[in-house]
Amino acid sequence: MIAANVRQEIHNLLGPRGYLDQGPDLSLYEYDGSIDKAKPDIVVFPKSTEQVAAIVKLAARNQLAIVGRGAGTGLSGGVIPRAGGIMISFARMNRILEIDLPNERMLVEPGVVNLDVTLAVQRDGYYFAPDPSSQRACTIGGNVAENAGGPHTLVYGVTTNHVLGLEVVLPDGTVIEIGGPETDLPGYDLTGLLTGSEGTMVLVTKAWLRLMRTAETVKTMLAIYETTDAAADTVAEITAKQITPAALEMLDGPMLRMVEEATHAGYPMDAQAVLLIELEGLIESVESQLEPIRATCLACGAREVRLAKSAEERDLLWKGRKNAFGAIGRVSPFYYVQDGVVPRTQIAPTLRRIGEISREHGVQISNIFHAGDGNMHPIILFDARKPGDVQKAVAAGEAILDYCIQVGGSITGEHGVGMEKMELMTKLFSDDTLNMIASFKSLFDPQCRLNPGKLLPTGKGCMEIHHAHATPAATY
């Protein structure tokens, strides 16, 4: 419940249609794409930076927690308002403010949908490279918060490589511009620090994005395998041969059957694994890579290598890939997506270990992932209505991430730590590293009101550490 005076102030600031504070409405904002849930006390819908700043100041005066929210497609519980308080939805800050093609830039508000950035400039031959599978719904603000990836970030890099500057609101309501449309601005790379800070340090109200030229040609291949090992070996071999596809995705047998039944994309129902390989660039460059890739696939044991013959065929294959989570929903009422990363030479043993974990924990696990950069997405199917099933899924997920750490990888490649993987941070990082993260959190958000209870393990959160950094003795 929000206090009446706070509610009234919000009413005065945003008008009667600028917020939601009734139970059934709030239920729509209690979840994201992960498995945790918590209701905010009120959801507000500002339309401008000024309104965001006013709300943030109001929250500061009343010691309320704040959580920013884009489309709620996150997969790590990043927008779950676990401490209640005010949720700031950026749904109404969804304007493209400036399209600047001569400078290969775009200035957008945080609520702009990822795909809409590309759609706005596609006719002119430009695009925005990060392309999360949820790109039809997820927003740029969320992408910046999570440092989102996607299949085509294999060559071109993730969100942090495509964001040059931000306008942010600090937890005390100060509005500040960080970086800008130019590169190599002098001073510390604050844009780089804040991108991927999971909404725990600032709220993003504008972002300068880097646009890229659309490639002259795109070729998509489908390599079909009788074993996942052979497909995984191909990924290692393509990497070792230093061929860099624009995207290199893998679907295992159970996964591709779910996808095919849902989308009829043309995936073979009887295979044990497929690789979706995309090349792009100049025609000559792409043509010259087709044969080495085909040969590598066949040498590693591919049954067949198909080349998409038309844009329609290509789109269908990608539709299958990107709508995979929807396809799973037809088969299993609940699923849990993991996001571990391993070195690319370790994909085959990791898949074998995932198979073992599936058997050990008695849960079905399917795999669909960004193989080219070793970013595994095991999808653990469960039924939340069955007692103990959630716990089994979570335990299996943790076992997978343990293995990723063990082979030199990471617990998250693109989904973020959120509240889901907080406790695992101690397995990946030393106390000194976690304390440094906490120090930065405290520097930006000393009262720990911005997206509290995320990213850092219990006991390392900003309210829980000794604040070692007093006022500096030196002056400038």
């Binding site: 490589n161 790379d189 604050l190 780089g192 100049l282 000559e284 990363v341 990082f429 590293t433």
Partner: protein, 369 residues
Amino acid sequence: MSLFQPDSAEALAAALAQAAHDRQTIETGGAFSKVRAGGPRGGAQLTLSTAKLNRVLNYEPRDLTLSVEAGMPFAELSALLATNQQMIPLDPPYSATATIGGVVAANSSGPRRRWFGTARDLIIGMQYATMEGKLVQSGGMVVKNVAGLDTGKLHIGALGTLGVMTVLNFKLLPMPVDTRTFAKEFATAAEAIAERDRILKSTLQPMALDLLNPAAARTLSLSGFVLLLEAGGQPNVLDRYARELPGFAVVDKTFWARINGFTESFLAAHPAGCVVRISSKLTESAPVLTAFAGPVIMRAGNGVAYAYCETPPAKLPPLKCVIEYAPEPRPAGMDLWPAPAADFDLMRRVKDMMDPHHLLNPGRLYGKL
């Protein structure tokens, strides 16, 4: 004043903590090749060198990843990677002497940044030592990783003012099968810029695209405004560039070594000289190219330009710029960073947190941090 060359990251971190405890000022470096980079230096009570932290910790060519200590010379590292046809395509100045840590601390980059990006795009993880004597990790050894906060980004280009990088992890790039360099001379900046715009709007994907003003062109025995482009790939790809770059001559690849070494040779020849680094939008190229009397070399696909001045400029033009390299010692009253932006106050707070007593390379970040 004393020089300490620790042979482990732990010893380096301990030295920082001790100096912080004793309130000693510290200067840090690798090979100290870029002594003229950034703000005032010298006079520190302790000089810390990473020169003995020079081991490759983990190099898995099949994973295209590398973990290396910060004191490894860039040239030695590049030679090692070349044995597997791999590279870290930063093209830094002082490449023969600089360490990889120094390259990253100065955020050095070069012509091929158009296609490959800069250190912030190539580094997948790092370890750095703090003034509290801690060793902190950022990122890891996989090419995609969002666990934790990307605090390492702050150290790239910080000129050692926040901590000392001890280990750097890179994603590696395969070397192109072959390359070809193209050049074209133009009578006016406008014509050169128009051709640059045409190339950027085409489907060509040059690795490097530089624009030189006449004073810079003369040093390469060229004249007028010059567009210099490097393409990589199979011979038929390079032939395609030749077809789509009418009027361009194929020139010797060694031009790039001279471009990359330009800063070093200019500063050696001009002890009182400066290099101004300008961050501009592509649409601001004309004023950037004509604002300086001396040589200007512009990364024409990124808008970052370097202007070479034989004497310190009395006044910098109204562009976003810093004096990246200055005379040694710095002339009194020289303002290297005349117009910090709105985010400067936050940078100051970051510095205060990492180095509360301002002992670490004080003022090295262009006299301001």
